[in-house]
C-alpha cells in the first residue's frame, strides 16, 4: 500500500473513476462484511435459542451465576466507545484529525477496559469450576445455589446440562472478545494513519470502515448482555 505513487487524499486508485466511487465501493464492501458478521453470530444465537427451549432451567442457573453488574458496566463501556468512535468519524469528515485522534485513544482505552473486566469475569468463572474444558469443569454447586433467583430450586439443576450453558457463554463472549481484540488492532492502524495525517474530508474511508466494524461488535454485545446475564 505504501507503494502508491498518487496522493490518496485527492486522487482515487487507477481502477476507480472518482474518489466518490472509490469511497462508495469500499464502504459497500464493509457493509457486506457486516452482513456476514450478523450471520456468523446469528448461527450461535439460534443455537442459544434452541437449547434455551430444551433446557430452560440450566439457563436460569447459569445466567444467575454470572455477575450482571460487571456485564452492565461492560455494556456502558462499549456504548461510550461506540460514541467516541462515531464522533471520531465525524471529526475526520470535518478534517479535524487531531480531535479524531484523541477520540480514537478513548475508544481504545474503553476496549482495553472491556477486556480487563472480561478477564476478571472469566477467571472468577474458572475459579468456580465453570469452564467447560481442559478438565476444569468442576462446577461449584453451592456457589450456583447462592446466586440463584428466589423461587427457583437448585434441585432442578443438572450439572451435566449446565455445562451446555457455559459452552455457549464462553464461545459467544469469547468470539465477541476476539472481535474486540481485532478491533484494538484496527484502532492502532487508524491511530498510525491519523498521526501521519493521511485522512481528509475527501478521504476518510478507513476510519468509517473501522467505525462500522466497531459498532457491529457493540450491537452483538447489546444482544449478548440480556441473553447471558439477565434473563
Amino acid at each position: 500500500m505504501s507503494t502508491a505513487s498518487y496522493d490518496k487524499k485527492t486522487q482515487a486508485a487507477h481502477h476507480f473513476d472518482s474518489l466518490e466511487q472509490q469511497h462508495e465501493a469500499s464502504k459497500q464492501g464493509v457493509w457486506l462484511f457486516m452482513a456476514t458478521e450478523i450471520m456468523m453470530f446469528g448461527g450461535l444465537f439460534v443455537g442459544y435459542f434452541i437449547y434455551r427451549f430444551m433446557y430452560h432451567d440450566m439457563y436460569i442457573a447459569g445466567g444467575d451465576s454470572l455477575n450482571w453488574k460487571l456485564g452492565a458496566l461492560n455494556t456502558l463501556v462499549l456504548l461510550l466507545s461506540s460514541f467516541t468512535m462515531a464522533q471520531a468519524v465525524t471529526e475526520t469528515m470535518k478534517g479535524e484529525n487531531k480531535k479524531a485522534l484523541k477520540l480514537i485513544y478513548i475508544t481504545v482505552a474503553c476496549a482495553f477496559a472491556f477486556m480487563v473486566v472480561k478477564y476478571f469475569e472469566y477467571t472468577a468463572k474458572i475459579h468456580h469450576g465453570m469452564f467447560p474444558g481442559f478438565d476444569l469443569w468442576k462446577p461449584d454447586m453451592a456457589y450456583i445455589a447462592e446466586h440463584l433467583r428466589s423461587g427457583f430450586s437448585i434441585d432442578n439443576v443438572d450439572p451435566a446440562n449446565l455445562r451446555l450453558f457455559f459452552v455457549l457463554y464462553f464461545v459467544m463472549t469469547g468470539l465477541h472478545g476476539l472481535h474486540i481484540i481485532i478491533g484494538i488492532g484496527l484502532m492502532f492502524w487508524i491511530i498510525k494513519r491519523l498521526k501521519n495525517d493521511e485522512f481528509s474530508p475527501k478521504y476518510y474511508t478507513a476510519v468509517e470502515g473501522v467505525g462500522l466494524y466497531w459498532h457491529i461488535v457493540d450491537i452483538i454485545w447489546i444482544f449478548l448482555f440480556p441473553l447471558m446475564y439477565l434473563i
Binding site: H56, T75, F83, P226
Partner: protein
C-alpha cells in the same frame, strides 16, 4: 449519493444517551418485572432490537445511506430472523 452526511456532535450525544437509557430499561425490566420466561425473553429482545436499530441508524449512518447498503444490512437481519423463526417452528410443531 448521500455518503457525505456529517453527523453533528449533538446527534451522537442524543444517540448515546438514548442507548444508556434503554440499557437501564433492559436491566430494570429483567430484574423487577416478571412476565414469565418467555415474556421476559421477548421483552428483552424487543428492547435489544430497538437499541440495535438506533446503532444501525445513527452511529452506523444507515439513516443517511443509499438503498444498496440498507438492503445489505436488512438482508443480514432478515435471513437471521428466518433462521430463528424456522428453528422455532420446528421445535414447537414436531
Amino acid at each position: 449519493m448521500a455518503g457525505h452526511h456529517i453527523v453533528p456532535l449533538k446527534t451522537n450525544i442524543i444517540t448515546l444517551l438514548s442507548l444508556v437509557v434503554l440499557t437501564a430499561v433492559t436491566v430494570l425490566t429483567a430484574k423487577f418485572i416478571h412476565l414469565g420466561d418467555w415474556g421476559n425473553l421477548l421483552l428483552a429482545m424487543f428492547i435489544a432490537c430497538c437499541k440495535a436499530t438506533i446503532v444501525f441508524g445513527w452511529f452506523m449512518h444507515l439513516k443517511y445511506e443509499g438503498l444498496m447498503n440498507r438492503t445489505i444490512a436488512l438482508c443480514g437481519g432478515a435471513f437471521l430472523f428466518l433462521f430463528i423463526l424456522f428453528a422455532y417452528l420446528d421445535i414447537f410443531f414436531r
